[in-house]
Subunit: 327 residues, 2 copies
């Protein structure tokens, strides 16, 4: 199985070094970064670690012709979104990259997209692996959070209000444009930027510490991800269809498409969280100061399950609930 070589030309080791050893972020808590068998890190005292790992596979999570700089950005953004949902502050990242071949053009653009986002959060690349195989990217992020302050899916209480950041459904609509090759759609660039360059809501997550009773990021669609909160918290919810925040571009589409994308399409990477009503003024003020849009979309109920009401108060039946790799 092994294919020994004389290490001529560009080999695995120099490939890794060239693109991933020149990062600008320097952190005092990284005692030893990439280049040895292990990274050695010094966690700050009296702090918990939040850790999340995600894999993106070509042809499953993105089309093979997605620009490499966007793949690099998004692979990291999806993971940072998980830190955001926990209320954690990003610190370190590892990158396991499987590539069909050593393509320096691809690596150049991929690492550009990856590092552009990492630098925004002073996130240090501390290690990784580069292997040959079908294109696949596994990123693991590590963040800090004060003890007992991590947000999670459990904790939503009957009577809590349900909020989301940003707007919903743009990424899902972008996927439908891509699948139909509708490159002349007037808002094509806008929708694609929402799919390819989601904004991890890191600062919003930090502002939600000690405020939100539950929080999750919307990767599989609002209905599916909110259901995770409901199951973990053993409560139900009622959503108001007309409150779902839509971008001006998505609001131009048919109501059926817009609502379907907002409820069921994944890839938005906004936060969905629950708040005791008494916390609402402080939180909405804090998020507004961060220029992070936030919308009240529903209420936690004692009655289990997720019900959705139209503006007229009639129940709305949701057909497709979310993304499922093995469905």
């Amino acid at each position: 199985m092994s294919t020994p070589s004389n290490n001529e030309n560009e080999d695995e080791f120099s490939l890794i070094r060239r693109f991933f050893s020149s990062q600008k972020v320097k952190r005092a808590d990284v005692a030893k970064g990439i280049g040895d068998d292990c990274a050695i890190l010094t966690p700050p005292p009296h702090t918990q670690l939040a850790i999340s790992v995600d894999t993106l596979v070509t042809g499953v999570h993105f089309y093979p012709d997605m620009p490499p700089q966007d793949i690099g950005y998004k692979a990291l953004a999806c993971n940072l979104s998980d830190l955001a949902a926990a209320g954690a502050e990003p610190a370190w990242v590892t990158l396991a990259l499987t590539l069909p071949r050593a393509d320096s053009h691809w690596l150049h653009h991929f690492s550009e997209g990856f590092f552009s986002l990492a630098e925004q959060y002073q996130l240090a690349l501390i290690g990784g692996d580069t292997t040959r195989g079908p294109l696949s990217i596994t990123v693991q992020v590590h963040g800090f959070i004060p003890p007992q302050e991590a947000l999670s899916r459990t904790g939503a209480q009957v009577g809590d209000e349900i909020y989301v950041t940003g707007t919903l459904g743009d990424a899902g609509f972008a996927l439908s444009l891509l699948s139909k090759k509708q490159i002349h759609h007037p808002s094509y660039d806008y929708f694609l930027s929402r799919l390819y360059r989601p904004t991890p809501r890191i600062q919003a997550g930090i502002a939600l510490r000690k405020q939100a009773s539950a929080c999750i990021d919307i990767s599989d669609g609002l209905a599916t991800d909110l259901s995770h909160i409901l199951e973990a918290s053993q409560v139900g919810a009622c959503l108001y269809l007309d409150k779902l925040p839509l971008s001006p571009a998505l609001a131009q589409e048919t109501p059926y498409q817009a609502v379907h994308c907002a409820l069921s399409a994944g890839d938005d990477y906004e936060l969905c969280f629950t708040l005791p009503p008494a916390h609402a003024p402080e939180v909405t003020h804090a998020l507004s100061a961060l220029a992070c849009p936030v919308t009240h979309i529903g209420t936690i109920t004692e009655k289990k399950g997720l019900s959705i009401l139209t503006k007229e108060g009639t129940p709305f039946a949701l057909k497709k609930k979310g993304y499922n790799h093995f469905g």
Copy 2:
């Protein structure tokens, strides 16, 4: 690109839950394990973290017909070997699994092999991701080490003695048996067990803290991995061909094959380390108490590069230096 479903039958979420939520290891430092957006961990005070990540890809790192229990074991063993090389004590692990389909037979055996090794080291599975795609496994391990005591590739000094644990070349010879389908070889089972079930030298690595001047695990072949120490430490080395420790089974093969496997084949996951001569008695005694074989195989030299001497004192020319994915 998304393939929404009604979450009928065995879906992604229950698949993960069923096989990976029933681990026996419980650790007080895991505040929140698998099942939320992030794992939340409490690192012990005054301790550094050692982190390593590795990917195994089907058809590249293992044959597609490798038994899943051995794939599960080995994917973890390769990573634990990196912790061993740093002298770290294993604590937490994440698993990112890409599978062509949700195959419960495969998952059952894979998780059995994975957990059998994890339990030996009280290693807790804290998170992961399961995606659809060509079979690939990315494992990240996290271990603890007292501040400033991590072993690394740098630090080898002229005059230090070079040692390896265990025996060399068995895994490489197993690969040649597999590639030639020599299933009737008298030591077939022995060689395959060395390839499929390497022993991570965790206790040996811990015993080397404050003793070894440099350490690495042999994943790419002794010559290649020792060269990493030499480059990082800016020294050279002389190896004695007749000192290379061979298993009784490998010693039965032709000297050319045995030496080639011992020097150049990867996958042994033994430790190669350098010791100031004054530390040798204490270290060899400590490793002997751990029933870990250890052999003196060479010396660190001022002259750069790796030279290899035969028993007669003549230079030995090494043809193939190690494994290179993109070579």
